[in-house]
Symmetry: C2
Subunit: 461 residues, 2 copies
């Protein structure tokens, strides 16, 4: 009888204390959200990064300006340590703007918007003109064979699949054309490649992005460009009317020797477990078309805001919290690789890493790369996030920059904002500050802060 | 033994058939979403309504053009019946654009953007100039009293609360200033009213909206305008420096006699229960500042799309499905009231009504006004919506136009899109088509279609 009573009392006490903890946590989360929405810094920071610095392709002067700015701003936060981590990055420049047209008859031309894919070689001086063969993907090349392709420009026109709800999935279904199209087409004797922009709407903006020649020899490389979705539709319909039309493209891009750049790192030392590290980050570099507000200026300022909100609300983390502004995600991932190498070399035990690199839109949740036990713990926190309409807790990818940290123990996560508008702006001239909504950005920052807080407080399993 | 076996078999069969039904439903929902995203009509319709017709304030020529267009488009869908329902609506016109400035010293003025609130009287010819008294809400008027207010312009400057996640809740916390501010201030001898725009960001756009003089006599009425958030901040800071500054406002708005307008109605006759009615709708009228794309062009085309998607995918509803394009939600609700009156007069049994009037943004779910039994049935459908990231099923309001249909039996519902950007555009000059994202609009239409399908198939409880 006594035993039962003790048991009942302790179960009661435990339940009560669990409830108290949940209440404490919900009060803390509310503080993060309120501070971010009423007194946030993320939007002002992004205004500066986007409008005062602008596009910041790896190896560019702007990228170095961004490094300097990131270091200065982190120093203002009163963190325990702020430093730069040196990393060699590729340097590729676009040069004079690209120029392209469709030639239906000699002298009869229609201009179409193109831009070189990142890493492409230039066209021969004076440009390149050739017939066009349209394909729906890399697999079509083999079917057509060298005879049909040799001496021509291959036009990869598989559209992004509009009936997938997650636009990143739709992107994933097409991006092979952009990344490997030139390498594959070159093997069949193509002289150039144009790729339909990875964009879900019809407009006049070409979307750049990384491409690779794999192990092709320099002499075998062919120039590769993105064409706007409207341009692609026009070209395709013209080819149906007359397969003999020609395409002209002129590009002046160039690869240079690697140059030195930096990851920017700031940390708050952990009060209880200083040797356990939690990383939150995004990438500081961007493509050169817009100002990189969504990709990934948003992730940068949100990550910085996590540490600022801890400071501002007086939360002392148990573990060491690092913000990392990674360099060179877009065309090399050198920053992410370097950070992981150094972490391994110094035997720093990383327990959790969170990346924001999916745009500054209304946050919906997170995706996780972790084991079942940790995922179960994270799922138990769902009610804490419900008041903020954060509902997606899925297993899946996390973020490119933090992926080199992967091991059996670590929990990796990616912020998942609403994805519907992301590919309207991705890698294009309209990835600009005016497409950012202040509240959506701030909600994202608070959502990240809340997860980092919970992971810090309860640790990984 | 036999009995048990029969029971087991029937439970098994039932479970199996429940699973089959769930699978059928998920296949049907997928069809709605795919058709809306790949071959939808909502975006093209909205393009026409917004860009070819434009703003459509009740009683205006544009409102009549919109009625005509709605009728024509519904007729093209091959519905069983399309008709206009006559309704008398208020007619209020803005007249020559408003003009306002802050006067710090005689001749030293700074212009600020204002617009008349819908229903306001004009200023005296030549405008109105007076000292300003700033308040944070109606309750401040009593504290200040007539001595402090008499002869002055009352400036309602309580900002919309930014730390509420649901922006409609934030709006609800401020809208009393706009709706009743003039009536209340007039009772203390104020000569005019300016109200901070119900906008969550700082910009230069004044947001109009309905106001009422209640039972004030004509002679006691005072003019009321909205001032942009930047304008409000400026005025407030200037008042702090010098409480004696004056405000000048000139408005030329006017109320006229009621005029005839119409609800536009189309229906598909129910195959099994033709005398049970389901309504889906939005409001066809809009304010006159932008083109009313979000408020409520989006709701109009999404509602039309519900019936089109049924036709397109070959779904034959059991119950009679009506689309209603309501007239005059913004400044009278005459269309909604008229529709409900007629339904009652004809003893039409309405079982379900769904309104979309919260913007064309990414749909997140629905709010319901219904009893517990019906809500439980609806909640059991959540898994069907999960692939489309529809997760909010809450009890609460539905929509203004369908609210007069309320009785003990009916289920009322409102589509709940992401609310973060809505009040950036609401009732302002930037509620325009370019702020609409095609996919978000289409996802909303498919989400509404899915709910109407389930309510039609399973009926109310």
């Amino acid at each position: 009888m006594k035993k039962t009573l003790v048991l009942i009392v302790s179960v009661f006490t435990l339940t009560l204390s669990a409830q108290q903890t949940a209440t404490e946590d919900s009060v803390t989360l509310k503080k993060f959200y309120n501070t971010s929405l009423l007194n946030g810094k993320s939007y002002v920071w992004l205004d500066h990064l986007s409008n005062q610095i602008g596009p910041r392709l790896s190896g560019s002067i702007n990228a170095e300006k961004a490094v300097e700015w990131g270091e200065q701003e982190l120093k203002k936060l009163g963190l325990d340590k702020v430093w730069l981590q040196s990393v060699m990055v590729p340097k590729w420049t676009r040069g004079v703007a690209e120029y392209a047209y469709i030639e239906t008859d000699p002298g009869k031309t229609t201009n179409v918007p193109i831009c070189a894919l990142g890493g492409s070689i230039a066209t021969p001086i004076g440009g390149l003109k050739a017939n066009v063969v349209e394909v729906q993907g890399i697999e079509d090349l083999r079917k057509l064979g060298t005879t049909a392709i040799e001496g021509k420009i291959v036009f990869f026109n598989r559209p992004i699949q509009a009936d997938l709800i997650n636009t990143f999935e739709a992107y994933g279904g097409c991006v092979d054309q952009r990344y490997s199209g030139a390498k594959e087409a070159a093997n069949f004797g193509a002289v150039g490649v144009i790729v339909r922009s990875m964009n879900l709407r019809n407009d006049d903006l070409p979307h750049t992005g990384a491409m690779s020649y794999g192990d092709l020899k320099d002499l075998d490389k062919i120039p590769a460009a993105a064409i706007s979705t409207n341009g692609a539709n026009l070209l395709s319909s013209m080819l149906k009317l007359n397969p003999e039309i020609k395409f002209f493209m002129n590009m002046n891009c160039r690869s240079w020797k690697d140059v030195e750049s930096h990851n920017v790192i700031g940390e708050i030392k952990g009060a209880e477990f200083p040797n356990e590290y939690i990383v939150v980050g995004g990438h500081l570099d961007s493509w050169d078309m817009g100002d990189g507000s969504h990709d990934d200026g948003a992730g940068i300022v949100q990550s910085m805001e996590v540490l600022r909100l801890f400071k501002e609300t007086g939360y002392t983390p148990k573990r060491t919290i690092r913000v990392v502004l990674f360099m060179n995600e877009e065309n090399g991932l050198r920053g992410g690789k370097k950070y992981a190498e150094e972490a391994q070399r110094k035997e720093e035990k990383h327990v959790f890493a969170l990346e924001s690199d999916a745009g500054g839109f209304t946050p919906r949740g997170f995706s996780f790369d972790c084991d079942a036990t940790n995922f179960a713990q994270i799922e138990s926190w769902k009610p804490l996030f419900a008041p903020y309409l954060i509902h997606q807790f899925s297993k899946g990818g996390s973020g490119a920059d933090i992926s080199p940290l992967k091991n059996e123990k670590i929990v990796l996560a990616g912020l998942r904002p609403d994805s519907q508008r992301y590919f309207d702006h991705h890698h294009a001239a309209n990835d600009t500050f005016d497409a950012i909504n202040k509240r959506e950005l701030e909600l994202g920052a608070a959502t990240m802060t809340s997860l980092v807080y919970l992971m810090d407080k309860y640790g990984t399993k």
